[in-house]
């Protein structure tokens, strides 16, 4: 079957390129251009999914050439085909959603939106199949710029272009770091092809520098703390389907790049590398979940939740890297498998949740969750999808979100047992504490989001007249909702494939030969999470429960709630801000919320005064790190400006001084 892979791949690329040309279709046919582009991206993504799927299912591990561009080879292996799979699947799901959702942009550069959408998908695919430094960096840069343009689509709004330019600057710092990493790695080899890049023999300083630069660059793209600041700004600014694709796929492309460095270029892992990745991942998971619970903008909540989930992925990678330095190397596979599985599953659930956010935004015309409420009655299907996505993002069993976290916990458990001293054991304990906090906070966060948005009574006039989204958008949301359960229950084959890929990347290890991480119905698997038995048990209990509890149930009446004898008003319901109050108070030493109460004086001094209460929870990393940094940067720049006085004589003087210095240096 793998013989057909290049054909599928070439057709996919062809589809994407055709889709890009939608921009050239005349403006009066913009609807046609849009539909054409989206059909092309659905087709292309399907073919990419088939390409990667064939490769993964064939069980091959060798590099497979898919195309040549000039002298640059494009090829896939296990690691890249996992991420191609993610790109293909999330590409299909979000493109279907975009067909109807993007119609809101008719007359607002719709052709450009749809054309760039194809280019964005294409650039991500090319990053994943690039096999040389040049093609990797070029596609990486195209991906960065195209995503900037997509974020900046509503460029008339001030906050949009601010967020977009912040993203542009940040992503270029990341690109610079990645380039440094490639320079260091490439300096010890003959060519620029990935197969020739390897600095396992180089001296420690070079390897440490390459690792640090690569981690910095990819962590920035993945949105790890403290480099995450662009993410919660860029997501609310971008159209919802673009956010879905960015969160679902682009963040994972960073995981791909980092894994490429770890597996292929850097050679044996140092202890502190693993520890750094683990701790940064854990901190991202914790802070992401904490800020997600504090935010009011639904898309910012989801963006912070992405920070949390990327933290989980990197924490799992970190645990795997640490295990590689211990005497129990074979268990490192669990960490990397967790990273792969969670990347895959997160792309499905985060795509779904951004679609839900888009649908809700469409219906209520507001992104503030405090202005929603009671939508479950008005938009029952959307509510069902949102509930599914929330369950998965809260990492509850039988959904796919649980599997990755569960494997991550196991990798921590193996780390604690690895007999590498008390330090490592305490590191594992720290991992348990922070990831436990993160998962509990994530659960609270999605209780809050779903509860405030969909339950209770409408909190604003606009939410009372909300209506269900179109059938097409619903279909686009129902597919990932369904996939969440399917991939949650078919956990065993997915984990087996991921394990196979992880093992292929760590070739010189004594692996968990033939031992699968989890197996249905037998207790021969290493770890036991029998989704199948649990599912049957759940179904049996459900049938009994339906027969016993609900069938004979008699509801006498619907009556108003108990409210200490008064009529309940809309504003007495718990708000999202109120809901997160205990957590805000428990972590106020980290969050430093700012409260401001202003008494507005009325004619009557004693009665009828109105109060204004504002609560702001600024991102502490922006406040304490970026704003001082920016301040110092401006200060240094204005200091340096003095040497550029604009007078020609001074510049001639500089030339003179420089020449004299060069002459003296030459004479010495």
């Amino acid at each position: 079957m793998t013989d057909y892979v290049p054909i599928f791949f070439a057709t996919a690329v062809f589809c994407y390129i055709l889709g890009c040309f939608a921009v050239l279709i005349p403006r009066k046919h913009q609807l046609f251009a849009h539909y054409f582009a989206q059909v092309m991206s659905i087709l292309g993504s399907t073919l990419i999914l088939i390409t990667a799927g064939i490769y993964l299912l064939s069980g091959e591990t060798a590099l497979l050439k898919v195309a040549f561009v000039g002298r640059y080879m494009l090829a896939i292996d296990g690691w890249s085909s996992v991420f191609l799979c993610i790109t293909g699947l999330a590409g299909i799901l979000t493109s279907i959603f975009a067909v109807d959702y993007a119609l809101a942009y008719i007359g607002k550069r719709l052709r450009e939106l749809s054309g760039l959408w194809n280019l964005f998908l294409l650039s991500m695919v090319l990053v994943l199949v690039a096999q040389s430094t040049v093609s990797f960096l070029v596609s990486w840069e195209v991906m960065a710029i195209v995503s900037f343009l997509l974020v900046n689509h509503d460029s008339e709004k001030r906050e949009t272009w601010q967020a977009a330019y912040q993203y542009l600057v940040m992503t270029h710092i990341g690109t610079a770091a990645i380039m440094i990493a490639f320079f260091v790695v490439g300096s010890g080899s003959n060519g620029l092809n990935f197969s020739e890049l390897n600095i396992s023999q180089s001296e420690t300083t070079a390897r440490n520098l390459a690792f640090t630069a690569a981690f910095l660059g990819f962590a920035l793209k993945a949105g790890l703390v403290p480099l995450h600041v662009w993410l919660p700004n860029a997501h609310p600014a971008a159209p919802s389907h673009v956010s879905a694709l960015m969160s679902g796929v682009m963040l994972k492309v960073a995981v791909y790049g980092f894994g490429r460095f770890i597996f292929d270029f850097l050679g044996p892992v140092d202890f502190w590398w693993g520890a750094l990745v683990l701790v940064v991942g854990l901190l991202s998971a914790f802070f992401g979940a904490l800020y997600a619970q504090m935010e009011k903008d639904i898309k910012r909540i989801l963006a912070y939740s992405s920070v949390e989930n990327m933290g989980i992925v990197f924490a799992a990678i970190g645990a795997g890297m640490l295990l590689l330095t211990t005497s129990h190397k074979e268990y490192a596979v669990i960490g990397f498998t967790a990273a792969i599985v969670h990347s895959f599953n997160h792309s499905i659930m985060k795509s779904l949740m951004f679609m839900v956010a888009g649908a809700v935004n469409h219906a209520v015309d507001d992104k503030n969750i405090e202005k929603m409420g009671g939508l479950a009655k008005l938009m029952p299907w959307t509510a069902g999808c949102a509930l599914t996505g929330s369950l998965a993002l809260a990492a509850l069993p039988l959904t796919n979100g649980f599997i990755g976290e569960w494997l991550m916990f196991h990798s921590f458990a193996f780390l604690a047992q690895a007999d590498a001293g008390t330090g490592v054991r305490l590191l594992a304990a720290l991992a348990f504490i922070l990831s436990g906090l993160a998962s509990a906070l994530a659960l609270g966060c999605f209780v809050r989001v779903f509860g405030v948005v969909f339950l209770g009574r409408p909190r604003a006039r606009r939410a009372e007249s909300a209506h269900e989204v179109s059938r097409f958008m619903l279909a686009a949301m129902l597919i990932p909702a369904f996939l969440i359960f399917v991939s949650g229950i078919l956990a065993s084959p997915i984990v087996t494939i991921a394990q196979h890929v992880a093992e292929a990347n760590l070739p010189d290890l004594k692996m968990l030969n033939e031992e699968h991480l989890l197996i249905w119905g037998k207790d021969s698997g290493m770890l036991n999470y029998d989704t199948f038995v649990l599912l049957i048990a759940a179904v049996v209990i459900t049938i009994f429960a339906w027969l016993i509890i609900y069938r004979g149930q008699v509801f006498v009446k619907r009556d108003v709630i108990w409210n200490c004898g008064t009529e309940p008003t809309l504003r007495q319901q718990y708000s999202g801000t109120g809901f997160s109050k205990p957590i805000r108070r428990a972590f106020d030493f980290l969050l430093k919320p700012r409260r401001e109460v202003v008494f507005l004086q009325k004619e009557n001094k004693y009665f009828g005064r109105s109060m204004a209460y504002t609560l702001t929870i600024p991102d502490r990393f922006t406040e304490k790190l970026y704003i001082p940094l920016q301040h110092h940067l401006v200060k240094t720049a204005s200091f340096l400006r003095r040497i550029q006085a604009g007078s020609v004589r001074i510049y001639i003087g500089y030339v003179m001084v420089a020449m004299v210095l060069v002459l003296i240096w030459g004479a010495m």
Partner: protein, 293 residues
């Protein structure tokens, strides 16, 4: 029928039903012991069965604002505790079956839905309960995982069955510390004094009871049964893994029940924001246990 059907399905299922059947009794034992300790005569230990029957027979009043989540939540709570009971080591066949992380995860399903249901009635009090429940869970979860880690380090496995086998074969500082810490967690997780008072019905101080303020009739019975099962599950888990005494399980559970009653009689309910420090101290105990192991 294949033998694995019995081992994998029928026996755990029967065990689950057994656990559900005995849960109200254990709850009754706690209440009776508490009453005796407080010089009261107290209700009969089978009183909880009567209470459940009473609620079961009563009709349900629901508010006009609620939707499907409100109806679904009690059942999901029951389902999550039942499935978690499914994972406990099997008394009838010696199969290694349940993973401790799956156990913890399954119980989170119930918490998720109960906290959600607190929003659905659009009342001022429900959300308060849900909010506090989430806060307490956030404080408990990391400490719970540390307790799990001590058990993993002791037994070298994440399987509840292997952990139970390794219990009681040695008693050292680490085991005692972990035992104390998990007992505190048991109290916190099940809404017991000093975290929450299961007997209070003042809206402003409740946590768990506050979330079920709008429930009545059969749905209320289901919720109460589920929380009794959850309490029982934690007591069984404590007896199996952390209580280092070689006695039959039933006796250990009764000892635990009496211990809970004693703790509830000796302590006051704590201020909500003291819980953080309280559980931080518990986490400290567990870190000591991890280092000492």
């Amino acid at each position: 029928m294949d033998i694995s059907f019995y081992n994998y399905f029928l026996f755990p299922f029967l065990q689950m039903l057994l656990l559900a059947a005995f849960a109200p009794l254990v709850s009754g034992i706690i209440k009776k012991t508490k009453a005796l300790l407080q010089n009261r005569r107290g209700a009969d230990i089978t009183q909880d069965y009567y209470d459940l029957r009473k609620w079961w027979k009563k009709k349900t009043v629901i508010t006009p604002y609620t939707g499907f989540v409100f109806m679904l939540a009690p059942f999901m709570y029951l389902l999550s505790t039942m499935l978690a009971a499914f994972l406990l080591p099997n008394m009838m066949s010696n199969l290694t079956f349940g993973d401790i992380f799956v156990f913890v995860g399954l119980l989170a399903i119930g918490r998720f839905f109960m906290a959600l249901s607190s929003f659905d009635a659009a009342s001022a009090f429900g959300g308060m309960g849900g909010s506090r429940e989430v806060y307490v869970a956030t404080c408990v979860e990391p400490v719970m995982l540390l307790a799990v880690l001590t058990a993993i380090l002791k037994s070298g496995s994440t399987n509840i069955y292997t952990m139970a086998l390794n219990n009681g074969n040695q008693i050292n500082v680490a085991v005692v510390l972990a035992c104390i810490a998990f007992f505190i967690l048991l109290l916190s997780e099940n809404g017991r004094i000093p975290i929450d008072n299961p007997d209070t019905h003042l809206e402003l101080t409740m946590i768990h009871e506050c979330m079920l303020l709008e429930y009545s009739g059969r749905l209320l019975a289901v919720i109460h049964l589920a929380s009794m099962i959850k309490n029982m599950l934690f007591m069984v888990l404590f007896s199996l893994i952390f209580l280092p005494i070689a006695l039959p399980l039933a006796i250990k559970v009764i000892i635990t029940a009496m211990g809970i009653a004693l703790m509830e009689s000796l302590n006051n309910k704590m201020r909500l924001f003291k819980i953080r420090a309280y559980l931080l101290a518990t986490g400290g105990l567990l870190l000591l246990a991890i280092v000492a192991q």
